[in-house]
Subunit: 344 residues, 3 copies
């Protein structure tokens, strides 16, 4: 009996089946310290227990993206080991904060399958849920990936494509219990801009750039127990390149967005996301944002901004996104649509 | 009076003498987080407090190799600062788990000396013990190294070569108190294979590869306060290479072995070990294992496997080990013989 | 309204004004583990809770330089974003240890301004204080930097140059409460040399070298939330080099000084400091020290040494410092003058 995991192929997925992902993970303060070492993260709510307490929380939660990366990493052996491409995200919600000491596990449900016309690959849709040791929902999101078939002669399954909303409704955002921005200290947070200072359509160049190193992206990806070989094995691709984990670019861009969005403290939803082009070591990553929507919440002093966060590399022109044909420009790495909480 | 440590030379060692190694070290959750960042470690017992509790432990211990590396690092200034080669390990046993918050210290006894026929170097044998703040034995092992003589005219000491068993007897393995695999969750652990599924002689290719970076091996080695200059100083060797610490290869290979040995949770003994060839940054490390023996234990549901773990680099053929003359092939980095605990 | 921080320019500073630096930071054991991964730090007081307790402390504090780097990092957006050069330090005192769990914040007062004769830049002097969550003073120091003018036609302010002592007086050193070296364990600390063994004028070559990697210096700098772009963005300089943060060199040199100064446990003052030449990835950093002064303290068994710590790169001759014209030699990276506590 073969002992190693060959991964699943397209024809192995059945709509409605549940995938229990292995290796639960306890995360504590060490992971937070590493997050600050790996990313230029400065949002005060995740940096200071005292600041978090002044916002009504018991202490500083872990960055939402830590929870996302851990959960995502757990799904790799069951979802994307034989993936050709990670096609998109939708309906991501961060429901309960991840506190130091929590143990995270992940479960996915297959919610769609669609064989491609070439007969060699297909798209699978999964809804993944991250849970803590109390079985509370931390995060859930839909992701779809293109996966190889093992057996090209396997019959195509009935196509099921889930109906996915373009964005999480503002009314469906979950504000962490106790969050209160009515005594928010803008000086300590680093910028004076509040919810009302951001206009829909406004774009912000986050100015700073970070050049990616092999050691750094591998460490970041490994920290989340994501072991997809394209990230670690220089012999896995003909060009000898190791592909940077898309989530590394998300965290880099989010951290860079501090400069201009220092008060967009908490990520509460991921509406959509595309990894437009691959990122490699040596690329210098920059970011810009666009304000897509605004909403209020029931929590005191807490507003929500819907933001587009774009990461670029190289000599991208200002606010680079798509070319005239509507395709992502080659310098665009990431196009992420998310909701963040910000003081009113 | 010279203030810096010149290290000991061959003629400085006396059979029976005790070496008290400096700089005790408190290890906590930060070191665990770093272990997960530096190695693709996924064994569930070391990843999740909840999983560890389901196996009868109070919470997740630190990886045995963390304890080994810390203890080994402490011995370097007294044992291997002037070493030419680290020749072998024997009779290593992990006796008490290392818990977050423990303070580790190390003591060695010189148990053998043998001058080489060239009159320039000699082999010393030491038994090293790692202890916690309660003076409990965490780990002990025998190691022998080739050390330079300071004074080539120093007389050769009487040869003493200790009698070392080829392997730790199964009856001498120490199972951590409370360990109970009778309610072991194979789905969460990541693989269904139990003790009875492994046959003596079976070999497992662990598939994945990791390309080593300078920053990573230096960070890992430094973390264990191992400051041997060959690992850190690009000017120390004529070829400008920094030598990867042998223990880094052990941890890499052990982590890679998850894919096929996900349930070989705890290392309880190191029977033998050889660093067959040097590893350098840029090498892509892979691993394979061979089942050497099986034994049961008195603990509920807990069996033991004796495993050979081989790390290779480059385009090593499958299950590369020795050439026809019986020498290690040039692609072989590590040949480690150890006992692990696995659910029955 | 522009949302991003353009930084302050020379004409924006007024003598007497207070700068409240943003983003308080809670530091815990994760940061300590990272310090041991990033630097070859082995001083026993910061490595072992048990050793620290044997010296009268409740447990192991964080390295003083962790506090310094965190506080320094917070000042960057307000003080040195448009700096041309970091010119010097004076009157630095470490007043209260940083304990795991502390939340650090930083405040600066502008204490001097002096426009340069070229009319393009000026020097500003700030006194920075790092405080914990109880508003206790952790560290304070004076720093002066050369900053660009935004508007070359802005009138020169009245010159104010603070009167800075060449060194902190021995009588002004603050010994941490409870510190007692009367039962100090020299064997566990790693060297037998005590206060009385060091003579004024004595110089110590610390022997070991560390080759700097891009990933390492960026991670170290980022960990302290220092986001000055010259350290991270390979496109920021015409030569494509990323400048190593000067504080990284301080921590490297301090850690290397263990070999010869293992008992110089605590840094209590920084008298002066100059970053003589830039450091880049690929440089191999070495260090040497000179004993400048000795003093006793009121604490049991605790003496103080005033030390010059010099970091060099490349093939620096022994004890390289200045050329015949009195200028720093090109191999000299750092010339730091500090007080350390050492057992009598």
């Amino acid at each position: 009996m073969a002992k190693t995991n060959p991964g699943r192929f397209f024809e192995d997925y059945r709509v409605g089946e549940t995938l229990i992902h292995a290796v639960p993970r306890t995360v504590k303060m060490g992971e937070r310290a590493l997050y600050h070492m790996l990313y230029p993260a400065r949002h005060a709510l995740y940096s200071s227990d005292v600041f978090a307490q002044s916002c009504g929380l018991p202490f500083s939660p872990l960055e939402e993206l830590i929870g996302f990366h851990v959960v995502f990493g757990k799904t790799v052996p069951d979802v994307s080991l034989n993936a050709v491409a990670n096609l998109g995200y939708a309906q991501g919600r961060f429901v309960t904060p991840v506190w130091p000491g929590d143990t995270l596990r992940a479960v996915s449900e297959v919610i769609g399958v669609k064989e491609n016309s070439n007969g060699k690959t297909g798209v699978i849709y999964v809804r993944t849920r991250g849970l803590n040791q109390h079985d509370e929902l931390l995060v859930d999101y839909v992701r779809w990936v293109m996966v190889r078939k093992r057996d090209l002669s396997a019959p195509a399954p009935a196509t099921v494509v889930p109906d996915l909303a373009a964005a999480v409704e503002a009314a469906d955002l979950v504000v962490p219990r106790g969050l209160d921005f009515s005594r928010y200290d803008f000086a300590l947070a680093g910028e004076p801009h509040r919810w009302g200072d951001y206009a829909v359509g406004e774009r912000i160049d986050h100015v700073d750039g970070v050049t990616v190193e092999q050691a750094e992206h591998m460490q970041a990806t490994r920290l989340w127990q994501n072991t997809a070989k394209v990230h670690f094995d220089a012999t896995a691709r003909p060009d000898g390149q190791r592909l940077v984990y898309g989530g590394h670019v998300i965290s880099l861009a989010r951290a860079l967005s501090f400069n201009g969005l220092a008060n967009a403290q908490m990520i509460v939803a991921i509406n959509a996301g595309a990894h437009a082009n691959p990122c490699f070591a040596g690329d210098t990553v920059r970011a810009w944002s666009e304000v897509l929507d605004r909403a209020d919440t029931a929590a005191p002093g807490v507003g929500a901004l819907r933001l587009r966060l774009v990461a670029t590399k190289g000599d991208a022109p200002p606010f680079a996104l798509r070319d005239e044909a509507g395709k992502y420009r080659p310098e665009v790495l990431l196009d992420l649509d998310y909701w963040a909480l910000i003081p009113m």
